[in-house]
Symmetry: C2
Subunit: 211 residues, 2 copies
C-alpha cells in the first residue's frame, strides 16, 4: 500500500515499538526516523551530539536557579533541554512536510498534532518486555528479571515526564492516539500488519467522506 | 473467521462502540450483550429491572449514612449499586464461560481480567460524537451542539466514575486494553474490520507461540 500520512509511534520501553517502526517503514518504503533525528538536529542546530544523546527524552530538572530565571520573565532563557526539544520539533515538522515517514518517540504525535499524522502507541506487559531484554538492551543481558524491571520502569518514567513536560498531555491516555496495540497479543510482526490494515481502512474511510 | 475469545468493548459515549459491538458480533456469528445483561441479571438475581436501568454504570454515592455502615464492619451491607455490579459480574463471567461473545460496557474488561478476553476501547473526538447525535441519542435531536457536548461529557464522567470505583483502574489508560481505536479515523465499519484483523493476527501469534 501507499502511505499518505506520517506515522508516529509512541512506545513503552521494551514493547518493541522501535522494531515495529523500522519494519513498518520498510514495508511501506518510506523513511524511518529515531535517533537519526538527533543527529540531524545537532548538525543543523549546531548542538553537541553527545550532550543531546545524554538528554534524550528526559525532561529538564527545574533547579532553584533555573526556576528563578523562569519567574523573572525579563531574564528568561530556555534550558538546553528546551532548546533541544524545540530544535527537534522543527526538524520533525520539516521531515513531515517532505512526505510520509515513520517517526518513533520524541512526542512526535504532539509535535505534528495539526499535520494529519497517524499516531500509534505500542504497549506491553512487563513479562513481555523482560522476555525481550536481549533485543532491547543487550548490554544489560546479565540483569536479573528484577533488575530489568526496575531499569524498564525508570526509563518509562523518564519518557513519561518528558512527554508530559513538553506536551501538557497525560502519557498513555487513549485520546492522544489513533491506534493503540498491546504487543503481547500480536507480537511485533502482528503489530506491523495491524497498523497497515488500519492505514488502509483510514484511507478508505477518508475517501468515502470526501464523496 | 471463528472467534476464539470473548471480546469486551469499552467506549466513550457517542463514539459508536455499541454499534461496532453489534456489527462485530453479527460478523462473527456470536452473541452480543449490552443492556440485555441487565435483564438477565435482574431476572436471575430477583432485582427490580427499572431500578437497575436507572443505576446503570453509575458509581454509588457515598452518603454519610452509607459511609457509617461501611466503617462499622459488623454492620456492613453492600449498597444496591454494589449488589448490581456483583450480580452483573457473575452473569458476565457465566456468559464468558459459555463461549465467545461481545460484551459492551459494564467494566467487562476488568470483570474478565483472568479469562483471556480481548479488550477493545473505542474513543472519538467531540465533533465526531456530536455529528452522530441522531444515532446516539435520538431523543436529544433538538439539542444544540453545546447542549449535546455537555450531555456527552456528563455521561462519560458517570461511566468513568463507575469504572474507576469498581475496578481501581484509571479509565482510558492504554494498558487496560489490547486494542484502542479512534473512531474518527476509520468510522464504525472500519473499526469492525480493524478488530477482526487484530483477532486474526492474535490467533496467528498465539498459534506461533504454542509451537
Amino acid at each position: 500500500m501507499e502511505a499518505k500520512h506520517v506515522i508516529t509511534i509512541a512506545r513503552e520501553f521494551g514493547s518493541g515499538g522501535r522494531e515495529i517502526g523500522i519494519k513498518l517503514a520498510e514495508r511501506l518504503g518510506i523513511p524511518f526516523y529515531d535517533k537519526e533525528l538527533l543527529r540531524l538536529a545537532s548538525e543543523q542546530g549546531g548542538l553537541n551530539e553527545e550532550f543531546m544523546a545524554a538528554n534524550e527524552e528526559k525532561a529538564p530538572v527545574l533547579s532553584a536557579a533555573s526556576f528563578g530565571r523562569r519567574t523573572l520573565n525579563a531574564f528568561y532563557q530556555p534550558s538546553l533541554s528546551d532548546t533541544i526539544f524545540l530544535e527537534q520539533s522543527k526538524i520533525i515538522r520539516r521531515l513531515a512536510e517532505q512526505g510520509p515517514c515513520v517517526i518513533v518517540g520524541r512526542a512526535a504525535d504532539y509535535v505534528l498534532r495539526d499535520m494529519g499524522s497517524i499516531d500509534v502507541l505500542i504497549s506491553a506487559s512487563m513479562p513481555y518486555k523482560i522476555a525481550r531484554k536481549h533485543a532491547v538492551a543487550p548490554e544489560k543481558a546479565d540483569y536479573t528479571d528484577e533488575q530489568m524491571e526496575k531499569y524498564i520502569k525508570d526509563i518509562d518514567k523518564q519518557r513519561q515526564k518528558y512527554y508530559e513536560h513538553y506536551t501538557g498531555r497525560r502519557w498513555g491516555m487513549v485520546g492522544n492516539y489513533h491506534l493503540c496495540i498491546w504487543a503481547d497479543s500480536v507480537g511485533s510482526d502482528g503489530a506491523v500488519e495491524c497498523i497497515i490494515k488500519f492505514m488502509e481502512l483510514q484511507q478508505q474511510f477518508e475517501a468515502s467522506q470526501e464523496k
